[in-house]
């Protein structure tokens, strides 16, 4: 008997089927994309710029609309129902390329804003959790500073902690290290690696090959709004099956 996949019984965390999206200018950004992400899985999406990978993960929490296909997140079907969108957004955290911290709030207030407003938790309780999370991402001593006073790497770690403070079931990363200076990339990747080790379900759009090799359960290559190849990191990086994958890898490696 082969070992059971770790989450075979429970339904998938994200189930995307035949997702198609056109931008208002007519550009066909997603051309029938399928993806299944299991509980506790780490999926890395790679691909050239303009391939639709960011657009795709932004459909998971309804930051982008799509016109055809279906997406189910943690058992909730994503449609126009605003209450369902709100319910999904509570369960799905997102980390952005530009961090998008709230510059007018202190680091601590960035973390506590949503849990207090959305989950209606008491400020005191959230404060304790927020401090613990800042400890975990290694910047507890910056808790009372403002985002503008932190380095890029520190800001991105705050952004991760801010998402975690909502206790999401899934974390989406949209090129989390792409706007960081090279020496700060590692501190962010280490935090993400720690999360993966703790069993967080993660979908990561990134160009970091080292991270994908070490941490990902699966690598997905997208090009021109379609999934070209989906494989384990070893297979994908060492024995890519498709010409498009080989071409992409020859450009980034």
């Amino acid at each position: 008997m082969t070992a059971e996949p770790k989450v075979a019984k429970s339904p998938a965390m994200i189930e995307a089927r035949g997702v198609e999206k056109w931008y208002p200018n007519g550009f066909h950004a997603l051309r029938g994309v399928d993806l299944t992400v299991q509980r506790g899985e780490v999926v890395v999406i790679m691909g050239p710029s303009g391939s639709g990978k960011s657009t795709f993960i932004r459909t998971f929490n309804a930051l982008e609309e799509f016109q055809k296909g279906s997406i189910t997140v943690d058992g909730i079907a994503l449609n126009d129902d605003l209450r369902k969108i709100d319910a999904i957004r509570r369960e799905v955290g997102m980390v952005f390329q530009q961090f998008n911290l709230f510059p007018h709030l202190s680091v601590l207030d960035n973390l506590t804003l949503a849990p207090v407003l959305v989950r209606k938790r008491s400020k005191g309780e959230v404060l304790n959790q927020a401090m613990a999370l800042l400890e975990r991402v290694g910047i507890a001593e910056q808790a009372h500073k403002f985002p503008g006073q932190l380095s890029g790497g520190q800001q991105q770690r705050v952004a991760i902690a801010r998402s975690l403070c909502m206790e999401p079931r899934i974390l989406l990363f949209d090129e989390p290290t792409s706007s960081l200076d090279p020496e700060m990339v590692r501190e962010v990747l280490e935090v993400m690696q720690g999360l993966a080790a703790d069993g967080m379900t993660m979908v990561v759009v990134t160009h970091e090959v080292g991270f994908a090799r070490q941490v990902a359960d699966r690598v997905v290559l997208m090009a021109d709004g379609q999934v070209v190849e989906e494989a384990t990191p070893e297979r994908f990086f060492d024995h890519p099956q498709h010409e498009r994958s080989r071409q992409f890898l020859s450009q980034i490696l």
């Binding site: 510059p103 007018h104 407003l117």
Partner: protein
Amino acid sequence: MPASLRKELFATPLDGVVTVLLITGLAAAGSRLLHWALTQADWAVIQANSTLFAVGRYPIEQQWRLWLLGALLAAAAGLSWGVLRGLALPDRPTTALWPRHDRLAASLLVLLAAWAPAALGLTLTIQSRWWGLTGLLLLVRWLAGRYGSRLGKTAPLVLPMVWPLLYLVGMVLIGGGLGLVAVGANEWGGLLLTLVQASFAILLSAPLGVLLALGRRSSLPLLRWGSVVYIEFIRGAPLITLLFLGQNILGFLLPGGMAPDRIWRAAWILTFFSAAYLAEAVRSGLAAVPRGQLEAARSLGLSLPQALAKVVLPQALRIALPATVGQFISLLQDTTLLSLIGLLDLLGTARSVMANPLFLGKSAEVYLTLAVLFWCCCAALGLGSRALERRLNPPSLGR
């Protein structure tokens, strides 16, 4: 001359020439004005009509209400001053209780209180009331600066509540009601009427302008087009036209009792006018907040109203603050147009005084006084806004 000053004023020969010419010109004009003001001007026209300029034909036996309001205003101003000074951000430790600029401002206030009432030839009783108001302002400023920081971060939140509340109290004190004798709007005049009109329009146009700006960026077509049409219509018409138009049609447009007479109709027109311009200021602020802010807030589960109230608007309004205060300053000056529709605001009072045969040929004295009064009000608004702006800027690495 300090080196820095020499570098700024005399960097090149051309700079030097320009500097000398300007200084000579300014000095010549200034000394002539001073000479005129001290030797030739006849200030009796101001002294004799100071009450008229201040409050118009407000009944004398009810004027104690205005003094009471003055005391409340002085206290509120002192409170705001002190609280804003004590507002320290994490990277900015609390500074001295009386920083250099504050000492300067306080000294100016004391000098003004000592000189102006006497120069106006007011009775000693009334002079002492002005001293009292000044003393009260500085006392509250001292108390708020000394103890306000103990309230911590909540201290500045008191201000947005104090002023509107004070406005309501002020309207009752001025207009009567709640057991006070009614004093109709047609008995208000002078600076009192100007300030009532301006503050009414400022307080009401601020929320209206924010709503219009949000409406203009809304995804609901009806709301968006409604806001666009409103803003562009108002901005496309001269205020004086709207004021005349308002006198004729506002009676039908607003529910009965909201615009019972000329004065309230004018106040509403000023409000609607100012709201359209404010909407544009706020819109530029909204446009300056990166899209990622709203996305981050929404992806954390905040509803659209929550995201706007807690994330987008605080940033947008801070960016729009200078333009907003600029609009308030124009609004204050625009109140002078009320004199053209026959209201006795500051300018209207001045015109009626100058029409008095006793004071023929005293226009220069009257207009100069008016200009100085308006300048003081606008300078106060500008100073307040800059102080607020500095304290609302979040600290960043570069500072």
